[in-house]
Structures are given as C-alpha cells and as structure tokens.
Subunit: 243 residues, 2 copies
DNA sequence: CGGGTTCTTGACACGGCTCAAGCGTAGTGG
DNA sequence: CCACTACGCTTGAGCCGTGTCAAGAACCCG
C-alpha cells in the first residue's frame, strides 16, 4: 500500500472507517470487499484551497474520491472563457469525464482545503473484473453522474433565473443533508461568479435574485454562508409551481 | 442465440458485419471478441417512427445499440413539459441513464423507422467481467456520453441563439460524416419544436435564426433536410469567433 | 491599514419569449 | 380531383427578463 506521510491524520483513514463510505464507492460493499478496494487506493492527500486536482488535457490515470471539502469542475473554451459543469462534494467520484478519451476534458479545483483519495484506474479496472459488487457500485456512480448532468441540462434549458437559483439551493440542502450537516444553514464556498457561471447567468443576476429571496424572507445571507428560512417555499419555486 | 424472425433482412445482421461496428461497442475488438459480444445480443428489432424504445420510470434491463435511424431522448417534468436531452444516431448506446438507478430517467422515441440491438445488461455485465477489451470500449462509450452531456451544458450555459444553432449544424455534419453520409446535405428528422427544445430556445427563434443563415447564404433549407453551403463560416460562428 | 477581490445596486439596452396571424405542405375523405 | 383539416413553419409586434456597463460598498488578506 502506498501511503503518504506528512499529511494530516485524516489522510490515514481507510475506506472502512471513512465518514462518507456510504456515499462513495464502498457504499453497500461487504467488509472484505471494502478492504480489497482500500488496498488499491493510492495516495490519500490534502489539497489546499485553489489547488488544481487535474487540468484540461492532462492524461487520465486515476479517478479521485472526495473525502472532505468541495470542488468545482469546469471546462475551458478555446477563447479562454470557462463553463462550470458542476460542484462536487465528499463521497463523489471525480475524473469520470476522462474514462472515455483518456484525457481530462475539464479542470477541477479545490474550493476550500480538501482531501481526496486517488484510485489508479488500472488497478480499479482489475478489481472491477473480479468483483461484481464493486462493478455494480461503479456503474451506479457513473449513472448518477449522467443523471446529474441531465438535470443540469434541464435547469439550463428550461428554467428562468429565479427558478434556477431556487433549484440550486434545494440541491445544496439535500447534498448537505446526505452528509449529515444542517439543512437550514450551510456553507456555499463558491463565489457568485462561479455560481452564476454554473447557473448560466451573470453575477449581477444571482445577486439580485438572492436579494429578492432575502426580501421575501426565504433566506438569510451571510458571507459564504446561506441560511434557509423557508425550504418548502423554495422547493415550490424550484418545481416551477410558484413565481 | 435468440434471433427474431419476421423482421427485415437488416435485423439479421451480426455485429461483425454491421455497418456501424466501428462506432459501436465492437469498435476495435478482435473477431473472436466481437463474436462473443454478438452472442449476448438479444433481439435485433425494428421500430416504427414515433414508437417508444423505453419510457420514463420503466425498469432497466437492457442497453440498446442504434443500428439504423435517429432517436430523440427527453426527460418529462412533473408538470408534463419535456426537455430534450439529446439526439442519438446509429452506433450510439441508449439507456446509460439508467445503469445507476435501475430505472429509466428519460424517454426515447424513434424519429424515423429505426432498428436497434438489445443488450441485456446482466449478460453484458458478465461479459465485461471476462473481457478487458470490451470493458475498455464500454468505458469509452460511457465517457463519451458524459463528455457529450458536458458539451450540451456548455451550449446552454454560454451560447446565444445564433451560436447554438450553428453548433448544432456543425455537430450534425460531423455525425453524418462519421457515418459515411454527405456533410453538405443531410436529413434533420426532428421538428423545429424538438430542435428548439434541445437548444433551450423557442420554435420561433429557431426559425428566425435559420432564416438568417439562409439569407446569408450559409445554408439551404428543404423540409426535413438541410444543405450546408458554407460549413467553414458556420464553424466560425459556432466557435464564437464571428457574430 | 491598504489593495484587491467580491458583492450590491441602478440605469439602460437588447435578445429572445409571447402572442397572434398567415402560409405551405401532407394526409384524408368525399 | 379537389375541398378540408392538421400540422409544422414563418413572420411580425410588443414586452419582459437578463445582460451590460458603471459606480460604490463590503469584505478579505497580507
């Protein structure tokens, strides 16, 4: 096993003891299977805020599982502009965009101090061949990624600004809920710039919509933090059933 | 082997002789491997225009490879509205949206008379375990699906109407080119309704943009058919380098 | 404390949506 | 063969939502 020294205690955690194993590849695997998976995990390492996990064009060698923190994934256009394709949280798998082509088609950056587990794809491949249960979990995560992208397409294709922001808040709440955090009050590490980019609108528009939500008493906004006062109402807006 | 009778001659074609094997799962597989894959193919059957391949909520059992024709995939919202998530052509794999959840999250309909090959997922799974080369091809196709979705997100998130339509034309041209058809003149089986839905705009807007292209001498439009007169110019527009 | 980023707010313009009417083509039945 | 209908496409007018531009406030970090 290749473990790094000189890393915080958290980095020594094995899959079996990991806080997010239920959200990650181990998911429903038995103890023996989790151990096998644990053995192929390469480095478990921290990333400081702003550091890149991988960049566009770099060759694909590993998938990465987020242990702690938040990441932003984005594509870089030829003209230099960015399109944020998603935000990723603990338990999620990063790098799936490259398993087809062998080259990363997007770039991933840490939005805060994070830690990740590296899964050398060749080793994972070999394990997938032997372990049907792991294969199933892997397919599940791939499927979730596709479904997630589809819902982004839906958001960008059909919704107005207000509904988009409401949808984002609802999803963020459910992400935090799944990870055992408060639904009422959570961190939004991304800037309005990133948020607006992801939502297909401008910074100003995000700000204005958020201000409206504030005025209507649906949320309270603190720097990098959001307090949800009326989740039900926001869900209604997200569903398109209320203006 | 389970083959259907009572179907056109085309439906009897095996993977080894299939016109689109280079675009489909067999891709770079050796003859022996292709044969193994061919053996698990369930029914190879035709679908008439307007028929559904699968519907939202139906349980996932098989993937489908498109042999001939064009399909439209779309999500149905709770309020009954649709979001077209993509158009699919020969050689592409349908049903990947469900491998995670076991339930189809979108609906697929034939835009013309089509034929498809059914791949029972349980059988494919078993084969994936044994054949590293097939696994690689499968991952490639999954990766392509993710990359495709990402590019749709980019289109919806960053482009104006004119650029979106140009992008669609360029992609359609490359799809037809890969399949050995003319790049200059090809069928667009989808209605403006579907097109606009996919592109995140309205019917009227598609029509107007198309009219502009016509006036500028970039395309000629016949019913359900598009003749590209100046692909280079359209590519420039799609790249965002010209108004 | 200063300098850079990030956020807010306003005024204005414009792209695309909405609504509405008219046109062309294909299919159907007398 | 010609109404008649249905459907998809086109075109116009007007309006609304967002983008754009600009200035200032708030915040963060060294």
């Amino acid at each position: 096993m290749h473990q790094e020294e000189a890393t915080p205690a958290a980095c020594a955690v094995h899959c079996a003891d990991c806080a997010v194993r239920r959200l990650c590849l181990p998911m429903e695997l038995g103890t023996a299977d989790v151990d096998k998976l644990d053995h192929i995990v390469g480095r478990r390492f921290p990333l400081a805020q702003g550091e890149l996990l991988y960049r566009t064009g770099s060759p694909f060698a590993s998938l990465y599982a987020v242990r702690e923190g938040q990441f932003k994934a984005y594509r870089v256009n030829r003209d230099g502009s960015e399109q944020v394709t998603g935000f990723h949280f603990s338990g999620q798998l990063l790098g799936l965009d490259a398993i087809g082509s062998g080259v990363h088609s997007c770039e991933v950056v840490a939005l805060q101090d994070c830690s990740v587990c590296e899964l050398p794809f060749a080793d994972l491949e070999a394990l997938l061949a032997k372990m049907p249960a792991l294969r199933q979990q892997f397919h599940r995560m791939v499927g979730e990624e596709i479904a997630r992208m589809q819902s982004v397409v839906l958001l960008l294709g059909k919704m107005k600004a207000r509904q988009r922001l409401a949808t984002l808040i609802v999803r963020a709440a459910s992400v935090y809920e799944a990870r055992g955090y408060s639904i009422e009050k959570f961190q939004l590490r991304m800037t309005h710039e990133d948020l607006s980019n992801y939502l297909g609108m401008t910074r100003e528009c995000v700000s204005r919509q958020l201000t409206k939500f504030k005025q209507e008493g649906l949320v309270k906004v603190a720097p990098r933090e959001l307090e949800v006062l009326d989740l039900a109402a926001i869900k209604t807006i997200a569903a398109g059933k209320a203006p």
